[in-house]
Subunit: 230 residues, 3 copies
């Protein structure tokens, strides 16, 4: 089903059973996989590839218990030229994927998130709302990027890293703040970052480390709790 | 494809290419996303929302090597009023989701599980079989809730927590028992709970902690192995 | 949509809206779920079950920043007799799943991977490229199996384990090497294995351990960093 209001460029290849809702724009030379769903207002540039069974432009939902009710509106999902999106992914409204971004299979990105040029969001990675990700960042498979986080350019986050933004775990009396990861820092696989920690420029966090305090620029921290080695 | 035996209420909005199998019941004012699959016998209340590309009511499967062969029958999946289910989720037969439950995108819940009122099963969380989850529980994104586990009311489990139920890891000579998490306990992100540990009422487990022994009510434990701080 | 070149055996049950591309071969008594996508050249044996919303035979993709560009060709995906694949899974071209393999819901397996007879790839597990997995191996829910890894027969890997293959995290000056897990070794849940570590035959790694060095055959290691106990 392609809504009559959709604007579709030249040489676009659409898979079987694709659903394109109202006010969608798709550039030239785009490939959309089978059973993909492009929700209303989504803006897709040229030469973008979208995998099978992927949802683009989902509106946030909630239940009564949730601390923060998502906004029902917001900007459309915008995907710039040359981006590549995998299969079975779910990307929300009010997300900007800059030129050449790669989003792996089964990854998900929530609303009010921007991802800079050529960055990689690995397979099965989950990115929560209100987070900014710089350019040429690598977020590997299975990472959890919490809400209210800032990741600067050229950061490398190994597989399965976990972050959090709520120091009091659901008590509701805390200004949520995710970790802040400065330019060029590297985080080893399955590391754990606590709310609001700052990882300095070019700092290195060892695999499996649990980081409870800020780590200065250029330092290396390992262990549980994480301690600086150098 | 909507099977002729399906009973569908008033003001139900069905997406494109929805599949509804035999003996499904759907209440009033329900929204079902595109390409969603509602398997036989599934019972859905009123004002429920189901995301795109989600499977409801899957029958368990197995191969020869599996220690426990799943039952081929069991009660239907029952989803009570006002529940919200995300996109690309997979929920099995013989699951009860009570009123107002929220299940995130890409989450999965296996058979013989009940989830109490208004609880949240986060995005990409995996819940195994034979587990009971109380009311107003929060299970955040990417958690792994093993089989044979009990989670009481108002528990909070941070993102990416991992649990297990098999002390001898596949040897087959052990009565499986997952962790038991008592009322109001809080578990930090990426914590690891070993088989059969009991986390007492209102106990707090630090982020990244590895819990190998029971933790008493009201205590806080951190580190690897986890030690009580207070 | 079933391409006219597809060869489909006897007693095959196809779900609704299945897509079968060119040169696919399917044996007898196979069940394919609703909205499943079988990409070109995929070879499926007899008595195989494929869940709903699953992609079989995906071709690898990439963006400019990726260290290694995937090959655009390679052998087809081959699934031997009696294999069972879950729902919402994504399996690539150039993968061999031997007889009786089980792949859970939402699992993904990338190119140039072989999985031996009767092995289990758990739900939501991610297997990267260039990895060999033996026979009767159990990889539980949510594990991350990195690229360039070798897992011998009868290994047991508990839920949520994480591995890595890049000692210098994206610097590009390192020969990638994932962990090597020898026959019958057991890895506890949420353990972290660093690049190129060797886990000896029948060694046991505790839940939540961070393994930075080789562990000898028959030894048990726990903690962060992992230390041998016996």
């Amino acid at each position: 089903m392609i809504h009559e209001s959709a604007k579709i460029g030249k040489n676009v290849v659409l898979g079987e059973h694709v659903v394109i809702e109202e006010n969608v724009t798709i550039g030239d030379d785009v490939m959309i996989g089978h059973h993909a769903i492009i929700k209303m207002d989504t803006q897709i540039g040229s030469r973008v590839k979208v995998g099978d069974l992927t949802v683009l432009g989902k509106t946030a939902s909630s239940n009564k218990k949730m601390a923060r009710q998502p906004k029902k509106t917001g900007a459309p999902l915008t995907i710039e030229d040359d981006a590549v999106i995998g299969s079975n992914a779910v990307i929300y409204r009010d997300v900007l994927l800059a030129q050449g971004v790669f989003v792996g299979d089964m990854a998900s990105i929530r609303e009010n998130v921007s991802v800079g040029k050529e960055s990689i969001i690995g397979r099965n990675a989950m990115v929560e709302n209100n987070t900014n990700i710089g350019s040429r960042v690598t977020i590997q498979t299975g990472c959890y990027i919490t809400a209210d986080m800032k990741i600067e350019d050229e950061v490398f986050i190994g597989p399965c890293c976990s972050t959090s933004n709520d120091k009091y775990m659901g008590m509701g009396n805390y200004q949520y703040q995710g970790p802040i990861i400065k330019k060029g820092a590297k985080i080893g696989n399955n590391a754990t970052l606590l709310p609001s920690v700052v990882i300095g420029e070019h700092a290195v966090i060892g695999a499996g480390a649990v980081i409870t305090k800020d780590i200065s620029a250029g330092k290396t921290a390992v262990g549980n709790p994480g301690r600086v080695m150098n």
